[in-house]
């Protein structure tokens, strides 16, 4: 139960969504700190409690090793026997494996490589500099933690989503929720495949509700370099396009804040929040390095915070695209009786988060129930 939270997160992990947003059908956070952020232990308890309340017949410790189509449904092979069924909801998650660039293989052996699945905390690494690759939620959080441990940290930055922790006195995710941005449906989004690939926002959940953007990291002494493009002769080569990924993120954040302001104005909510604010542009380093000699000992470890990918190795139904992603229309997979939940922007922007599953599940299950009724 709650396996991904228990086994695949680092020690200091907290949700980046506030407690009041932790909602599952019929179960919500009811503790004393609705604006706080759950620790890993708290998330695990929250999910275990949901399992108890919902009395779902969960078979724990059971791996699905294969799913095959039959004449009237599916044959499921598990580590504890066979199951035949007419419909299946795939809820195996979008983040089963860390996604690494191919050139990770070309990194010299003298440098230790860790993924967020292996990383627990700074204490696990020998003394020395660390190169964190990727500046989305995981990367900025780990870069900050490693820097605070006294290590030199270099952060390789590609395209990212910048957000302040709070805006006009409220959690920025309150704005996403209230203004309806998160309710945008998958069939209304211009470029859906892009929306589904969007990296996680640069946010961290801390009791102090601090913003963790690149300016914060730069002030802490984290060195920024561009997107890591290749390894050549034991050297990491970084893109010289850093300035533009900063501009793109700054401009997108401005547009998002404009959307919030516009919403507050037209919905008469201006009085309950603080006045609009704008944030300093991301500071461009004087001269960002374009290469780093990985053999020099300057960095002793690399942390790949380059995202995750799903693992459908067990799914013997031809519904996976060339990029290894499940083909589906709002959770309805192109194979009768097959459904999906818990994927990024599955039916709306909210779907990428824990609380997104409630409405998605209702709609997907409606379809599933119709399917069962028709085929009887």
């Amino acid at each position: 139960m709650a396996n991904s939270w228990r086994r695949e997160r680092w020690d200091s992990f907290r949700l980046l969504t506030p407690n009041w947003q932790s909602r599952l059908p019929g179960h919500r956070y009811e503790g004393p700190d609705p604006d706080g952020y759950m620790t890993m232990g708290e998330v695990t308890e929250f999910i275990e409690r949901f399992a108890t309340l919902s009395r779902a017949p969960v078979r724990t410790g059971t791996n699905v090793t294969s799913v095959r189509r039959t004449d009237d449904g599916y044959q499921v092979t598990t580590s504890r026997g066979e199951i035949r069924c007419r419909t299946i909801v795939i809820a195996s998650g979008a983040c089963n494996l860390p996604a690494l660039p191919e050139f990770a293989d070309a990194v010299p052996d003298s440098v230790e490589q860790l993924t967020p699945f292996d990383y627990r905390g700074p204490g696990q690494l020998p003394d020395g500099g660390v190169l964190v690759v990727g500046a989305s939620a995981t990367g900025v959080q780990l870069a900050a933690e490693l820097r605070r441990s006294g290590r030199p940290v270099i952060l390789s930055v590609g395209e990212h989503v910048r957000m302040p922790r709070t805006y006009r006195g409220r959690d920025v995710l309150w704005w996403m929720d209230a203004s309806g941005v998160w309710d945008e449906r998958f069939d209304e989004i211009d470029d859906l495949s892009r929306a589904r690939r969007l990296p996680s926002p640069q946010l961290v959940g801390t009791p102090e509700r601090t913003t963790l953007d690149l300016n914060t990291l730069a002030s802490m002494g984290v060195e920024m370099v561009g997107r890591w493009a290749a390894v050549r002769d034991g050297r990491a080569l970084f893109s010289g396009g850093l300035r533009n990924v900063f501009s793109l993120a700054d401009l997108k954040m401005e547009r998002l804040l404009d959307t919030f302001d516009e919403w507050a104005k037209t919905h008469g909510r201006d009085a309950e929040v603080e006045p609009p604010e704008r944030f300093a542009p991301t500071r461009v380093p004087e001269a960002a390095r374009l290469q780093l000699d990985l053999r020099s000992g300057e960095v002793i470890a690399i942390i790949w915070a380059t995202g995750f990918r799903p693992d459908y190795g067990w799914l013997d139904v031809p519904v996976i695209d060339a990029k290894g992603r499940l083909r589906h229309e709002g959770g309805v997979v192109d194979s009768p009786g097959l459904y999906a939940l818990g994927l990024p922007v599955l039916r709306r922007r909210r779907s990428s988060f824990i609380h997104g599953v409630e409405a998605d599940a209702r709609e997907v299950v409606e379809h599933l129930a119709r399917q069962l009724a028709v085929r009887r």
């Binding site: 561009g226 997107r227 493009a229 290749a230 050549r232 080569l237 893109s239 010289g240 396009g241 533009n244 501009s247 793109l248 401009l251 401005e254 547009r255």
Partner: protein, 182 residues
């Protein structure tokens, strides 16, 4: 949106994007150039044929480019220096991007001007100092754009054009280069 006329056939580009989604082979292009040494550091490069959409293609006309070095390098200055061609490529690529993105976003352009500066320490190519690189140290592009759009929208145009630019990518990211003797 229909009123916007930047002269870019965005529909054709969007259609191509859809078609190529299902036909990655057709998206494989090969651009070609052939050069001939003239005299001194003067050479002439011609560009005409290329490959794409699964077959040989050709420009309407052959284009001829002379490259040389200026007189301060004790050369005859029959053409611009090779490294200046990189600025030509970058300027035209980013400008094309601005026009296309503007068309796609329904922004009418009135004028788009860019000035480019590439900082180059020539001690690298002369072998004066092994720590100085041969290529540009820094390139600065300054756009001056007159359009029916806010400053923020114009900045977004320029940012998006960099994001989709072939030459910007070629200059900011490493590329494998193989040079052989036939």
């Amino acid at each position: 949106m229909t009123a916007v006329t930047n002269g870019v056939n965005v529909q054709a580009l969007l259609d191509a994007r859809e078609v190529l989604k299902g036909a990655p082979e057709a998206a494989q292009f090969v651009w070609r150039a052939s050069s001939r040494w003239q005299n001194g550091v003067h050479s002439t490069t011609t560009v005409k044929e290329f490959f794409g959409l699964g077959q040989e293609q050709s420009h309407k006309r052959e284009a001829v480019f002379d490259a040389d070095h200026p007189e301060v390098f004790a050369a005859e200055d029959n053409g611009i220096t090779p490294i200046e061609y990189l600025l030509v490529g970058l300027a035209s690529c980013l400008t094309a991007g601005v026009a296309s993105v503007a068309q796609n976003r329904g922004i009418q352009l009135r004028s788009v001007e860019a000035t480019l500066e590439g900082k180059h320490d020539i001690r690298g190519i002369l072998g004066v100092d092994g720590d100085v690189r041969n290529g540009f140290n820094d390139i600065k592009v300054t756009f001056n754009i007159d359009a029916d759009a806010s400053k923020q929208d114009i900045e977004a145009l320029v940012a998006q054009s960099q994001k989709r630019s072939a030459v910007f990518d070629a200059l900011t990211n490493p590329t494998n280069v193989t040079v052989e003797v036939a």
